[in-house]
Amino acid sequence: MNWELMGEALPQLLGGVPDTLTLVATSLALGVVLAVGLAQMRLSKNRVLSPLAYGYVYIFRSTPLLVQIFLIYYGSGQFRPLLQDIGLWTLFREPYFCAILALMLNTGAYTSEIIRGGIQSVPFGEVEAGRAIGMSRFQLFRRVIFPQAIRQALPAYGNEVILMVKSSSLASTITILEVTGIAKKIIAATFQPVEVFIIAGSIYLLINFLVTRVIQFTERRLNPQYHRERSAKAVVKPDESADALVH
């Protein structure tokens, strides 16, 4: 084990963390907006919108993310004159823009299915009850459907976030130096793959550990009834022991 190299590689690899996190956070935030729209389209009875959303989701889930990234980053070069004419070339020239666009379109497809599952898990009787007492469509969504759908969807969304942390490593294939990109650079220069892998791998494991923690915490906050049960039990215990003393 080359400790000296590990000492040098650590700060370099940590330097890639902000890029990794920016890629993940930006594409997740944009992806959720896209996903909510797609899920609404998919669940609507419109005969154009629903198949359109289905087709989108199907295509993005059936092709590798790498193809999507290359199609946007390298593929846009084929339409350079056109893109220059409409002033979009400055965007598509940027690897960051292309990576975030691809990651966002990709996570949007997966997340829309998670949201759809969440919305469909809400018992229809509750929706009917909401309608019966005269809630508007927005009220119904805001007060009945959304709060329950989000609780149902959260664990699956946690997995999606972890997949995105891993997927962001593909940005290194289009010259972005996030954690994996830097790791590859150091490996290629030093030929010490094991040392670099241990540090870079630990960084990813740590990020994903924190992600699962945040998701667990949010789950507990969204389901206070479980939390209350537990604290109620804690209160009960002294009484039990008191009972035992009396007997």
Partner: protein
């Protein structure tokens, strides 16, 4: 877009792209077989009564599922290279540059990565088989082998199929990452074609269509397999 580029034979790229697709399929199939082997092994570890084996399997699934596949590919490719060179110069006195075989590197990387997901799928499926059935099999005097082949395996396979189908899709898509170390499968072939024709969009689109075709076809296959595996099950 110049469609004559997609002609069959020496003038176009269709035959090359299709050959790339066959390579993708070959890597995916062998990696998948490997991943089921690895997955079964570690699922057995997870269900073992030995704490050491359980911890080993937990570390495997946690680490592999939490680290990007690309990083694993770099580790195996460059690590394998260093290892091979050490062996070549240490034992055979050969001082040249040796690269690890690309196909095997791809097979191992994708197999190990998919294996972690298959571990969980198989563990869940084994646990879904009701304990009472195993007890009943014991009660009527079945041997361990008979219990495995007649009671556990057919039902585990049925419960595991949907999950195994998902992992197959994942495997198929993940093979695209092997292109970064130079194995000529769909993505690499598309990059080569894009480079020499200056039409990257056309060829990455062809690549996307090929992947779409492969996943759609195998989806159908898995759906049929599920119908077959559930043929003896009555619902309701």
């Amino acid at each position: 877009m110049d469609l004559t580029l997609l002609a069959w034979g020496d003038t176009g790229w269709s035959d090359e792209m299709l050959r790339g697709a066959l390579m993708t399929l070959a890597v995916a199939l062998s990696a998948y077989a490997f991943s089921i082997l690895v997955g079964s092994l570690f699922a057995a570890c997870k269900l073992s009564s030995w704490a050491a084996l359980r911890i080993l399997a937990d570390v495997y699934t946690t680490v592999v599922r939490g680290i990007p596949e690309l990083l694993i590919i770099y580790l195996v490719f460059f690590g394998g290279g260093v290892l091979l060179r050490t062996v070549a110069s240490g034992i055979f006195g050969f001082d040249g540059y040796v690269d690890p075989p690309l196909f095997v590197t791809g097979l191992v990387c994708i197999g190990v990565s998919a294996g972690a997901y298959n571990t969980e799928v198989i563990r869940g499926a084994v646990q879904a088989v009701p304990k009472g059935q195993i007890e009943a099999a014991k009660a009527i005097g079945m041997s361990t082998g008979q219990r495995f082949w007649r009671v556990l395996l057919p039902q585990t396979a049925r419960y595991a199929l949907p999950g195994l189908g998902n992992v197959w899709q994942l495997t198929l898509k993940e093979t695209s990452l092997i292109s970064v170390i130079g194995l000529v499968e769909i993505m690499r072939q598309a990059a080569v074609a894009a480079g020499s024709t200056k039409e990257p969009f056309t060829f990455y689109l062809v690549a996307a269509v090929l992947y779409l075709g492969l996943t759609s076809l195998s989806n159908q296959g898995f759906r049929r397999a599920e119908v077959w595996a559930n043929r003896g099950v009555r619902y309701g």
